[in-house]
């Protein structure tokens, strides 16, 4: 089904379309929430809340190109609200890297899977060493694939600032990988 048609049917109140919509986007919403919160159960709860908010606004969903940034914006705002209530960000993530790799690994050659697993583990550990600001930029641009325009709108910063922050974050990540002496 075309994404536009699915959105129309969601907006019209089709329950089956809504279920398909949830299954299509739940991995991305949960992934963003988990990378912000660092706690799987909190991320699940928050992702559910994000879908409830999306459902409440389903009669005015953005078009297909603006849908993902809009949903990510809702999820991020919920994360920021949670941080404000807790007055602190969590220090570490609770899902082991092995589990992360297993959850997202495609089916294929076991040797290739092992190689992919080690690469992900390496990058994931380097990612955990970044500052919150740089990790957020990596999360929004390189993981979720938002454009710099979308990130600038989401964070409320100028486009040039978003670009320089993104470049700085990527270079910091590459330097962390260099310091580990291995190439993923």
């Amino acid at each position: 089904m075309e994404p536009g048609v699915l959105l129309q049917r969601v907006g019209a109140g089709d329950e089956l379309a809504w279920e398909a919509f949830v299954r299509q986007h739940q991995g991305r919403i949960f992934g963003l929430a988990y990378h912000y919160l660092g706690h799987a159960e909190d991320a699940r709860e928050l992702a559910q809340e994000a879908f409830v908010q999306i459902y409440r606004n389903r009669h005015s969903l953005p078009d297909d190109s603006g849908l993902v940034p809009w949903m990510l914006c809702i999820t991020r705002n919920l994360c920021m609200d949670l941080f404000r209530r807790r007055k602190a960000r969590p220090p570490t993530w609770d899902i082991p890297v092995e589990e992360l790799g297993h959850l997202a690994a495609p089916d294929g050659d076991p040797e290739q899977q092992l190689h992919d697993q080690s690469r992900k583990e390496l990058v994931h550990r380097a990612l955990r060493e970044l500052t919150d600001l740089n990790r957020e930029m990596i999360l929004l641009k390189d993981i979720q694939g938002l454009t710099l325009d979308e990130i600038a709108g989401l964070l409320g910063i100028p486009l040039g600032t978003a670009k320089s922050r993104s470049n700085r974050a990527r270079l910091e990540l590459a330097e962390k990988l260099l310091a580990r002496g291995a190439c993923p």
Binding site: E19, H124, R170
Partner: protein
């Protein structure tokens, strides 16, 4: 004298060291765009030429490329088997759609009007609108509405004040003619009447006392008063002798 470089890369490095310095900083600034394929052809060509001879920058760029590839795999995480069912059950319990936009406008307007400051704001807006409109010239004249209004108010208020003043003066004259003391000196006249009455009573009491003292003296000393001295005797000496 400095030692001659043994090879071409060493020569390049020594020339750069004596001119612009190492160019790795410039490559770092372009590295992300190079990996993303967003560099103009000339810059890309120059960056590749630098990378051929700089192993450090090559390592940096290779790690940027690898990280970009791996990071995409972190975009979607499986939230668990129960997640979809939990979302569907929560959205089934969610409140129905909010009102359509037209109704929401009406609801928002009603909510705005219910605010306590709405009357104050309306009065402020009405005053501001009146002031602005008063400065608009009347059609066919150079004078604004405001000046005509102000001059009319001034003329009518002067006439009204003059009429009121003459009426008050007439009332005052009539009242003075009818009862001048009560009207103009009512409070003073009351007090002065009381005072004079008190003085009269004191004088009367003094005379009664002096008469009693004279009768007593006549009765006990049996000296008939002379016909000339009694009326001429001052009241002060009589009272002193009586006391």
């Amino acid at each position: 004298m400095s030692r001659l470089p043994s090879s071409l890369p060493d020569l390049t490095a020594s020339i750069l060291a004596r001119t612009s310095g190492p160019t790795c900083g410039r490559l770092r600034a372009l590295a992300c765009d190079l990996v993303d394929g967003a560099l103009p052809p000339d810059d890309r060509d120059l960056a590749h030429r630098h990378l051929e001879h700089c192993p450090d920058c090559r390592s940096l760029v290779s790690r940027l490329e690898a990280a970009s590839e791996v990071l995409l795999a972190f975009a979607q995480l499986e939230p668990g088997a129960e997640f979809t069912a939990a979302v569907l059950s929560r959205t089934r319990l969610a409140p129905p759609f909010p009102a359509p936009p037209q109704d929401r406008l009406l609801v928002g307007w009603a909510r705005l009007m219910r605010r306590p400051r709405a009357a104050l704001e309306a009065a402020y807006l009405a005053t501001a609108a009146g002031l602005i409109l008063s400065q608009v010239p009347l059609p066919g004249t150079q004078h604004p509405v405001g000046s005509a209004l102000v001059s009319r108010v001034r003329t009518e208020s002067r006439a009204s004040l003059a009429g009121a003043s003459s009426r008050v003066q007439a009332w005052t004259t009539r009242a003075k003619a009818a009862n001048p003391i009560r009207l103009s000196h009512h409070r003073n006249s009351v007090w002065s009447a009381r005072w004079s009455r008190l003085i009269r009573r004191i004088g009367q009491a003094w005379l009664d006392l002096s008469n009693a003292a004279r009768k007593t003296r006549v009765r006990f000393w049996r000296q008939p008063p002379t016909s000339t001295s009694a009326p001429a005797e001052p009241s002060g000496s009589a009272s002193r002798s009586a006391l």
